[in-house]
Amino acid sequence: MCLGIPGELVEFVQEHEDLAVVDVSGVRRRVNVGLLADEGLRPGDWVLVHVGFALSKISEREAQAVFDYLQGLGQPYADELDALRGSDIA
């Protein structure tokens, strides 16, 4: 429920300043980055994504560590990725 999944910021969405496309394990979806407006996010940055919102900016090294941890979780991570695949935030 409180899972944060690491995503790499690919690009900002032109028509909405709070939305950006992130890549989570090859799944590209739009998420809201409004909570990190103070962080000066740029493409290539890594963020922890929770229920469609980027919650924290993290290092690439941390992203890899979280990714390893999540893969070890098994089903809960698979469920989270499935839910993300079904997401279509606009």
Binding site: C2, L36, D38, V66, L73, P76, L84
Partner: protein, 382 residues
Amino acid sequence: MRFVDEYRDAGRARALAERIAGSCRPGRRYTFMEVCGGHTHTIYKHGLEDHLPSEVNLVHGPGCPVCVIPMGRVDDAIHIARRPDVIMTSFGDMMRVPGGSGSFLDAKAAGADIRMVYSPLDALKIARANPDRRVVFMAIGFETTAPSTAMTVLRAAAEGLGNFSVFCNHVMIIPAIKAILDSPDLRLDGFIGPGHVSAVIGCRPYAFIARDYRKPLVVAGFEPLDILASVHMLLGQLAEGRCEVENQYARVVPWDGNRIALSAMSQVMRLRPHFEWRGLGFIAHSALAMADEYAAFDAERVFDLPGLRVADPRSCQCGEVLKGVLKPWECKVFGTACTPETPIGTCMVSSEGACAAYYNFGRFSREQISAAAREPREASQP
């Protein structure tokens, strides 16, 4: 010992476990509560308890948002969902949580339009696409999740969306920790503080735990090494006679939290005078409702709700498990009448619930569970 051995940093985990053992004063018992369900999951998944010295006892706290939703609130949500003009939207975790008369899944099977969403923003999109229906988002979660609901409502308000509302069940971790500290049932020596909740609220709100209750708290990450490092930090504080809030998870948690998230929450939501937590009872100022300015987006004001309080099943001991008084396997229905397939209590529903985590990672053979469940014990007496 196979669990931690499967972990990529098994060597470092074992080294930390040795340092933990060296930090314990012989004969003294240390009881630490991990507040967050994600931590509980890691502890069971990797069998961390087997690697801690017998002096260290980890007890599991109330930090599983699905687990603490009282049955009456589930019934209220189903009452809304049954209306033909309503589309109810919910995180997947919530679908199997039992109310007094079934779950979302049961209501969906009976014809209610209940849709799983990944994000409240997905619920917003459904509202835009269905202007002739009323779309309700079942909002649950601690401070990790509440800002997402708040930001979504702000967006709905900016768009002037008239058919979207939130059934707000957001709860707050600090009042729950305080209730546990004030409970006579349990003596704790310190806390492993929640990770992602703290990314929002920061570390300052925990200061009273160290100052007024003289208990150390270490905000921790979710990996096995994080948990072990936090236990080591707690023991270090106790050995040195310190009681402080420390941040082991600084790579994600800023000391002051997330300013924008806190501001969105305080704009859109207000404190409830009290809220019922499943198993813990009513806790003052422990949950959020929609603020008056956003009444149009408040499902509690848009719809008439029964608002009935429903007592937990008598056989269910989730309350004791959520307070850390009972270990999951000590509950008299654990693994027998209550399983993840047919949960009686909420702790068996979510993967972060202590009971589901215990059950799924096979910490006990079914024979042991049955034997344990048959043994009479004081805590289970009415």
